[in-house]
Structures are given as C-alpha cells and as structure tokens.
C-alpha cells in the first residue's frame, strides 16, 4: 500500500441551502496526512455541512474510515451509511465502535530540573538497596556453606569441577596473555622515567612489586568479573526467566546450595591460581622487555629480583584473590536472581553485575592498599 493510488480530496459544494461535502479518491493510510489536514480545516471553518456525498469514494481502509467518521462529526447523517454500501458500512460501523472506546491520552513527555534531582535520589536509593542486598546475600551464601561444609553427601563435586574448568582453566590463555602485555608496558614506562635518573635497573623492582602486590590479582579480578561474573548472571538469570529456579525450590532443593555454592567455591579456588599465573606472566613480560631493550639480561633480572623482593609481597597480592573471587561470584549470582520475566532484564542485570563487581573489587583493593600501608607490610 505504499503507492498513493488515486489522490483523495473533499470538495465543498453549495447546492441551494444544502452544503454538501463531496468525498473522492482513495481514503487510505498513504493519503492520510493530507486528508487529515483537510478534514481539520473543514471542521475548524464553520462549514455547516448537511450531507456527505461518498459516491466518488475509492478505496477505504480503517484509517480512512476513521477520518471519514471524524469529518462526519456529531451530526449523524441518516443517509450517510446507507449510500456507502454494505461492506463498507460494516467497516465504518466497527471503526466507529472502536472510536467510541474511552481514549487515554498519550502520556505527556515533559522534563524539568526536578526530574534530575529525582533521578539522583533514585540512583542513591538503588545503590543503598544493592549494598544491603549484597550483604544479605553474602550472609546467606556463608550460612549455606557452613551448613553443607561437613556433610560430604551434599557436596556438589561435579558442578564444582565443571565451574573450576569454566572459570579457571578456560581463562588461562587470556589472563596469561594480557598480564604478559601489561608487564611489558609497565617495564617500558618504568624504563623511560628511570633512565633519566640512571636507575634503569629499578625497572625490575617496579615490575615485580606492582605485579606481586597489585596488578596480578587486580587484572585477573577484572578479567574474571567480565568473563565469569557476567556468565553467572546470564546463566542464573535465564534459569530464573524459565522458572527453573522455582522448579528447584518446589523440588525441595535450595537454589543457593545448588547454583550459588559451586560457582562461588569454584571461583574462590580458581582465582588465586589464575592470579599466581598472572603474576608470573606479568613478570616474564617485564623481563622480556628488560632483556630486549634495556640490556638487563634474564639472569641479571632474576638475581636482582631475588635480592630485592621478599615473599610477603606475594602473600599481600594473593591474599586478596579469594576475597575478590568471593565478591565477584556473589554479585554475579545475586544479579542473576534479580532477573525478572523479560530477556531484556537478563542483559540489564549482566551489565550491572560486571559494573558492580569491578567497582567493588577496585574499592576493596584501595582499602586493602591503605590497610597494608598502615601496618607497614
């Protein structure tokens, strides 16, 4: 119906005392814009039409019928429906019935500065609610863990191993590669700055300290939040959507125990291992740059590394890994449970899960850095 067909029009005919509106052409959606303008003009002018002549009418669809009925207005023309033919009169009848239904006006879309305040307020409220929910959920997971820890029969070993493979083993290549590259970048940065002081050798400390204490575990946490935290949300979210969570409940099982514990434990086990790998890869990246462009041979790198670095830096770094893992997994699962009916909501909560876990990880990392500085480790 994209073709315009016969042009539609309304002619005003003064025949004696009668004012006749002669309708012609195709009254279809394609002509609706011009017809609508015409109808309004006639209705606005004080043309007191007594009759509508539809003998010249071409095609008529629902939109055309709607406009025709609007043109007729309130003064019912007794002949009007009669002369239009049976088929069309039933169309007009159905449309006029539908038009009589009460109309709800489209919601006005206005904006005021107050809305901005309202949004900020809502945002804060959501933030507070999310924090409370997360604390509650962490408690729930710990409780569930405590309840099943000493009951080997209730251990979900298969599920646990599956998730360790998915979140740990499968993430090895990406974590190792990215850490290697970041290690190389840090070595370059350090070398550029330190060269001015003639202290190029300190690049070794820069790379090893930063990776042992911070970057190894932080990089892994961010990657895992994007890779596994989001996957947890999507998995649990789509199960929630298909009422699988409800099914688990009605079968007398505990969703936290069945779905959350294996994921949380898997990540708590996998993440320190991945972080260790990231630390090694990052230091190798640094060593590679040192060897290739700073004339610090690998042997020199290792001996310098051994001289200056103590083991406690590794513990400071790796100690954070299980905490980050727990938080990422808990947020991922919690967001999954928050999914409601629609598929869109799965996407929303997946995004939210990644944003929240990265935020929480960096926040906790900053707090830990201050703590370790204060106690002088």
């Amino acid at each position: 119906m994209a073709d315009k067909g016969m042009a539609a029009d309304i002619a005003i005919d003064h025949a004696g005392g009668d004012v006749v509106l002669r309708v012609s052409g195709d009254w279809t959606l394609a002509n609706a814009a011009s017809l609508d303008a015409r109808v309004r003009k006639i209705l606005a002018s004080s043309t007191n039409a007594t009759r509508i002549d539809v003998s010249g009418l071409g095609r008529l669809d629902t939109t055309g019928a709607q406009l025709l009925l609007a043109l007729r207005g309130d003064h019912a023309d007794p002949e009007f429906l009669g002369q239009i033919g049976e088929e069309r009169s039933s169309l007009l009848h159905t449309v006029s019935e539908a038009m009589r239904a009460p109309v709800s006006p489209a919601l006005p879309q206005t904006w005021s500065p107050l809305d901005l305040l309202e949004r900020i307020g809502r945002g804060m409220q959501t933030l507070g609610r999310n924090a409370l929910q997360l604390l509650g959920f962490v408690g729930l997971v710990l409780q569930s863990f405590a309840a099943s820890m000493f009951v080997p029969r209730r251990w979900r070993t298969t599920s646990l191993v599956f998730h360790i493979e998915q979140t740990g083993l499968d993430a090895v290549p990406i974590v190792a590669l990215l850490s290697f590259l970041i290690g190389a970048v840090i070595a370059f940065l350090g070398a550029t700055v330190l060269r001015d002081f003639g202290a190029t050798l300190f690049t070794v400390e820069l790379v090893s300290y930063s990776f042992l204490r911070e970057f190894g575990v932080l990089l892994t946490a961010i990657l895992i939040a994007g890779r596994s935290g989001s996957a947890f949300t999507a998995q649990i979210g789509s199960m929630k959507m298909r009422e699988e969570i409800d099914a688990i409940r009605t079968l007398g099982l505990d969703p936290v125990h069945v779905l959350v514990l294996p994921r949380v434990l898997a990540l708590v086990i996998a993440m320190p291992l991945l972080s260790f790998l990231a630390i090694i890869a990052g230091i190798i990246g640094g060593a590679a740059v040192c060897a290739l462009s700073l004339d610090i041979s690998p042997t020199m790198f290792i001996s310098r590394f051994q001289e200056t670095t103590t083991l406690r830096h590794l513990w400071v770094g790796l100690g954070k890994a299980p905490i980050f893992a727990f938080l990422i997994a808990a947020i991922g699962c919690l967001e999954g449970f928050k999914v409601s009916g629609s598929a869109e909501s799965v996407g929303e909560h997946t995004t939210s899960s990644v944003v929240q876990s990265i935020f929480v990880v960096i926040l906790v990392d900053a707090l830990a850095a201050i703590f370790f500085m204060e106690i002088d480790v």
């Binding site: 959606l29 814009a33 669809d61 939109t63 709607q66 169309l91 159905t94 109309v103 409601s340 869109e344």
Partner: protein
C-alpha cells in the same frame, strides 16, 4: 472462485533440514477473504510452512506466490512493499519489549509513512481499540500484560498497516477458553468488517469449528486435504480420523453445532 481470487499459492514446496525432509511437493492455496486453518501433528512443519510463506525461510525447492508475485524473485524494495501488505501475529506475540503497546503499533506506521504525530496517535489508539484492548493498556509495556492482552496487542500491531492477509501462528495457544473464544470472535468480526484474508496455524479444535472457512491438513510432508471442515472430517485418513474423531474433536464439533443452532 476465479484465478484472480487466489492470493497465496504455494506449489511444489520442499523444505529440508540436513537430511530431514519436512515438506515434499506441498501445494496450498488461499483465496481472498477466507480464513484458512492449517492443522497437523507436532513436528509436521506447520510453522516452517508459515515461515516459508512470509519469506522468513527460503524453501529448498518449489515456489511461493503472494498476490501473484513469486517472493523468491523479488528485489528488496519489492519485498518490503509486499511485506507492508501482510500482518503477522507470532505465537508469543513478539512485541518489542522495550516499547509500550502504543509504540509497538506505531513502529510500522512511523517506518513506512510520514504522518503528523497527533494523527499517528489517533491511528494507534484506533488499532488498539479494534484489537479489543482497554484504553489504559496502550501505555503499558509487554511485560506488564497478561497472555491474552499480549496477543491482542500483537494483533493491533499486525493490523497497523491495514494488511490484506493476516498470518496467525497459534493465535489461541496459552489462552483460557473464554479468552480463546473471544479472540476467535474478534478475528471473525475484523475479517468481516476489514475484509482481510487469514491463514492461521492452530491446535485449537474450537477455532477450526468456529471461524475457519477451510482447513488444510498437513501430514506425510504435504497438504493431504484442504477443504471445508465437513469434507475434511469425512476424508479417509487415519490421522484425520483420530484428530477429529477423538474425544476433543467430538466435543468441539458438538459445541459448534450447538452454537449455530443445528
């Protein structure tokens, strides 16, 4: 019925997934103004047939003509133009979940026609009312609607461009009997007043008995018979006998007879 009255003609259709042949040499015709119901067992390829006709699936062989145009040979522009002439109601409504019912109806109108906003709003309001939805449903989102209302909202969207053919995929599936009967009546009323043709897929025997002018039975990879229901019931085929002669078939038949007063 003259040749010109045939608006959908499927000839020698063959659909194949890997080694599994779903349709083989399938023929079907739909004439102007009639309501044709397609029935068949689960997995008999009803939905695949529908998808082939509306052009969502390219058949392995055979031709599908809609309004006398072979859809396989159309250019993209012609295809789009053809698509504005039919409305499709998907089984689960397929409403855009990020848009309100009103905006869902407005999507095709905004895309294909350049109309002033207040006229668009009036047209959308009319379609929503035609589909039998209460006025306050217009600004709700699909997630807030009940199953029956989703179908009606989807129908309002399918009616947006005044289609000449309406394709319905299981229109009454998931509705309660009262809602299903009301929906059947709505389709019938709209067909009578707006004058479109309907091709529907259904499992609902009541729908077949109350609104279908002809019924096409899909079995053994083809349309076994396509005729008015009375003829189909008498057709000699094991599946058809079981389908219409079973307890559900008999009760639907009785209900239909009672309703028409025979």
């Amino acid at each position: 019925m003259t040749e010109a009255d045939v608006i959908i003609r499927v000839q020698g259709l063959r659909n194949q997934f890997g080694t599994q042949v779903v349709h083989e040499n399938l023929d079907l015709e739909v004439r102007r103004g009639e309501i044709v119901g397609v029935v068949g067992g689960s997995g008999s390829g009803k939905s695949v047939l529908l998808r082939s006709i509306i052009g969502l699936r390219e058949p392995t062989a055979g031709s599908v003509e809609v309004f006398g145009q072979n859809i396989a040979s159309l250019t993209d522009t012609q295809r789009t133009q053809l698509e504005t002439r039919y409305g499709v109601l998907f089984q689960n409504g397929a409403l855009f979940s990020s848009l309100s019912v009103r905006d869902n109806v407005l999507v095709p109108l905004r895309e294909h026609f350049d109309l002033p906003n207040d006229l668009l709003q009036r047209i959308a309001t009319l379609k929503i009312a035609l589909a039998g939805l209460p006025a306050d449903a217009a600004d709700k989102f699909p997630a807030e609607l009940s199953g029956g209302m989703v179908k009606r909202a989807a129908l309002a969207r399918a009616l947006a461009l005044d289609p000449e053919i309406l394709f319905l995929d299981e229109p009454t599936a998931g509705l309660d009997p009262i809602g299903a009967a009301a929906f059947d009546q709505l389709i019938l009323t709209l067909r009578d007043s707006l004058g479109f043709s309907v091709l529907l897929i259904t499992h609902d025997l009541d729908t077949l008995y109350t609104i279908c002018d002809r019924v096409a039975v899909l079995a053994n990879k083809r349309v076994v018979v396509a005729a008015p229901l009375a003829e189909v019931e008498r057709y000699d085929d094991a599946w058809i006998r079981e389908y219409f002669g079973g307890p559900r078939g008999r009760s639907a038949h009785k209900a239909a007879l009672a309703a028409t007063g025979h």
